[in-house]
């Protein structure tokens, strides 16, 4: 386990920017800003125009940390308290879960909740329950 500092200002500013991007994408192109949906459609696009906007937004996303580096002088902190094996198994499970659940934290948690979608509300409660259970089991039962 790695202790982390409570950072409400950075968290709020970051969250507000995530929200701003979500509103702008709906205003400009009429799409939900869900990472799972954008990536899945990028890998299996329905047309070349459909692929192009997904490629553009993904290119913008990966530029974000570079702008952060330019402003802050360092990349955003990535502290990993788990093993590479957890990363691999966790990653595969995340990919399966978001595909069956039709969305992740950005799509259901931010965009869906913001338009008061009951489906997204249920999805968000479900993945919050999943992660809370997993963190409890790994840290407090297995002591990892």
């Amino acid at each position: 386990m790695i202790e982390t500092e409570f950072t409400p200002l950075a968290a709020s500013l970051g969250g507000a920017l995530i929200g701003l991007a979500s509103v702008l994408l709906m205003w400009v192109r009429g799409n939900v800003l869900g990472a799972t949906g954008i990536l899945t459609g990028f890998m299996q696009p329905s047309s070349s125009a459909d692929w192009a906007w997904r490629a553009a937004i993904l290119a913008g996303m990966v530029t974000g940390p570079l702008v952060y580096l330019f402003i802050a002088g360092e990349f955003p902190a990535i502290q990993v308290p788990v093993s590479k094996l957890s990363m691999i198994i966790g990653g595969v499970i995340v990919g399966i879960g978001v595909t069956y659940g039709s969305g992740c934290t950005s799509g259901h948690g931010v965009c869906g909740m913001s338009r008061l979608s009951p489906r997204s509300f249920v999805a968000t409660l479900s993945f919050m329950a999943g992660i809370t259970l997993m963190v409890f089991v790994t840290r407090h039962i297995f002591g990892l």
Binding site: M1, T4, T7, A11, L13, G14, G15, G19, L20, A21, V23, L25, M26, V28, R29, V32, A35, L39, A52, A56, A59, G60, M61, V62, G64, L66, F75, P76, A77, I78, Q79, V80, P81, V82, M87, I89, V92, I93, V94, G95, I96, G97, V98, T99, G101, T105, G107, G109, V110, C111, M113, S114, R115, L116, P118, R119, T132, M134, V135, R139
Partner: protein
């Protein structure tokens, strides 16, 4: 022009993820560790995001159509079923193992961090496994209906 604007929107999202701490597994896992070293920061990420998105969507969705394009593309289904709940719960379990979620890991692949790259590759594998399983069960269902 349209693609430059979309690129800028992606950049705002990626910068937001970078500032927020969502791409820091230690912070994410500590948020959900209510019985241990709880770090409440992430509630501010989701809270601020929704405080901006909810009124923003309210205003935008009153317009007849988006700036570029003919209409708003919103998920059509209202179905709350086992697949939605089970899939989302499963996603949560994986998120709890790795500490990354898709929207947080994608922007930070540009840092070259090995854990981010391993997670992202694994999560793409997971997407294809699920799509294959969904396709196969649909085919089996069709075959069963046909016979």
């Amino acid at each position: 022009m349209h693609l430059v604007v979309i690129y800028a929107i992606g950049l705002i999202f990626g910068l937001g993820i970078s500032i927020s701490g969502m791409a820091n597994p230690a912070k994410v896992l500590n948020f959900f560790d209510f019985a241990g070293i709880w770090d409440p920061s992430l509630i501010f990420v989701m809270g601020a995001a929704i405080l901006v998105t909810a009124p923003g969507y309210f205003l935008v969705l009153k317009r007849p159509k988006p700036v570029f394009g003919n209409g708003f593309t919103l998920p059509g289904t209202k179905l709350i079923d086992r697949r939605l709940i089970g899939g989302s719960f499963t996603f949560g379990l994986g998120w709890g193992l790795a500490g990354f979620c898709p929207g947080a890991s994608l922007p930070v692949i540009s840092t070259g961090n090995s854990d981010v790259l391993i997670f992202t590759a694994s999560f793409i594998v997971g997407i294809f496994i699920a799509r294959f399983m969904i396709q196969r069960s649909a085919q089996q269902r069709d075959a069963a209906t046909a016979s």
